[in-house]
């Protein structure tokens, strides 16, 4: 029982440490996300501006682009980052394969198109970073909630229960001990009483024996109480 209490207490302190570590990481992410979102807003504005410029130079190429989609060049790789036992997803953008729009804009407006591609490329990198932060944020939030719930459960339910059980057991044992003691005392008192009575009887018989001299040995045999039982 005591072992269980110890185990529960240790588990509680460990969980608390985990919750604290997670909170720390959580808060460091918070500020980062807000800053990144601000930057993202600006970058998107810039990107759309260069899009308008390119359109102005090249004419409307939306349809051509939408039709010519083939294979994705920019992909993200997922990675698991372990923080205090929690797996947080991290995205890394990487280039896979050649630029399929290499030849676009050769006719006119190539410069703007290039700038546009670069701008949107930057935007994507930032967005990928933001995505990682956001997923970590959401995951951490969930995990922190769960861990805190467990910490509270251990603290307010499990440990008091074990302590109450322990207290009950101790009180029961104490009571048994008291009963035992009382019983012992009673037996001792009884024995003392019996010994006293025997002594008194003996003394009385002795006195009588002296008065009735001849019937001494015979009488004493008859009057002899039977021996106490020998119990092994």
């Amino acid at each position: 029982m005591k072992g269980r209490l110890k185990g529960a207490q240790k588990g509680h302190s460990l969980l608390k440490k985990k919750a604290d570590a997670l909170q720390l990481k959580f808060r460091s992410i918070l500020k980062k996300i807000i800053d990144t979102k601000q930057t993202m807003g600006e970058i998107m504005k810039e990107a759309s501006f260069s899009l308008a410029e390119a359109k102005f130079a090249t004419g409307d190429f939306n349809h051509a682009v939408l039709q010519n989609v083939n294979k994705a060049q920019i992909k993200v790789k997922t990675r698991k980052d372990n923080v205090a036992g929690v797996n947080l997803p991290i995205f890394e953008s990487y280039q896979d394969g050649a630029d399929s729009y290499e030849l676009a804009g050769l006719a006119k407006g190539g410069q703007q198109l290039k700038k546009l591609k670069v701008n949107f490329g930057n935007a994507i990198n930032l967005l990928v970073e933001l995505a990682s932060l956001q997923t970590s944020f959401v995951t951490l939030d969930e995990v922190i909630k769960i861990t805190n719930r467990r910490v509270n459960a251990i603290e307010h339910v499990i440990i008091p229960k074990i302590e109450r059980t322990l207290a009950y057991i101790i009180s029961e044992l104490d009571e048994l001990e008291r009963e035992e003691f009382y019983r012992l005392k009673k037996v001792q008192d009884k024995k003392k009483k019996i010994a006293k009575e025997k002594a008194a009887l003996h003394a009385e018989r002795k006195a009588r024996g002296l008065d009735q001299g001849d019937g001494g040995p015979g009488e004493s045999i008859f009057d002899e109480e039977h021996d106490e039982d020998l119990l092994f």
């Binding site: 083939n70 993200v76 995205f91 995505a131």
Partner: protein, 129 residues
């Protein structure tokens, strides 16, 4: 509906739901993929003024249920239209965490931080602590 669990080092793509200009821009950067091998269809969805609400929802749902897309970029004014779907997705996201839905500003409409669910949660936390 939620995407399957991700493993370490897997390749994923970026999906886009936006107006024509946004999609074009991102496609030019190299995000677009028509998935000829897997037959899952393009990983972007163009939303115009006359696209029906049901179509937008359908597009969103199909992108979200694909397990080869890790990030979905969605223009904020479209996100506002399907706000309830996004909220549902974020609620489920606690199990699988993917795909991550990112709201981006569109040309016409400035970025409204109060509508973004993640930002509002952030503000809550910072406000409390």
């Amino acid at each position: 509906m939620p995407a399957s669990k991700y493993k370490n080092g897997e390749q994923r793509m970026i999906g886009v739901i936006g107006d024509e200009d946004t999609c074009t821009g991102f496609l030019l950067a190299g995000v677009g993929d028509k998935n000829p091998k897997k037959g899952l269809g393009p990983n972007f969805f163009v939303v115009e003024k006359m696209t029906k609400q049901a179509d937008i929802e359908e597009g969103f749902r199909s992108l979200v249920s694909r397990d080869d897309i890790a990030v979905i970029l969605i223009c904020q004014h479209i996100a506002n239209d399907i706000r309830y779907l996004i909220d549902e997705q974020t609620a489920i996201a606690s199990k699988s965490a993917l795909p991550c839905i990112l709201e981006i500003p569109s040309k016409q409409i400035a970025y409204d931080g109060s509508k973004d669910p993640v930002l509002s949660k952030l503000r809550q936390f910072l406000g409390e602590k």
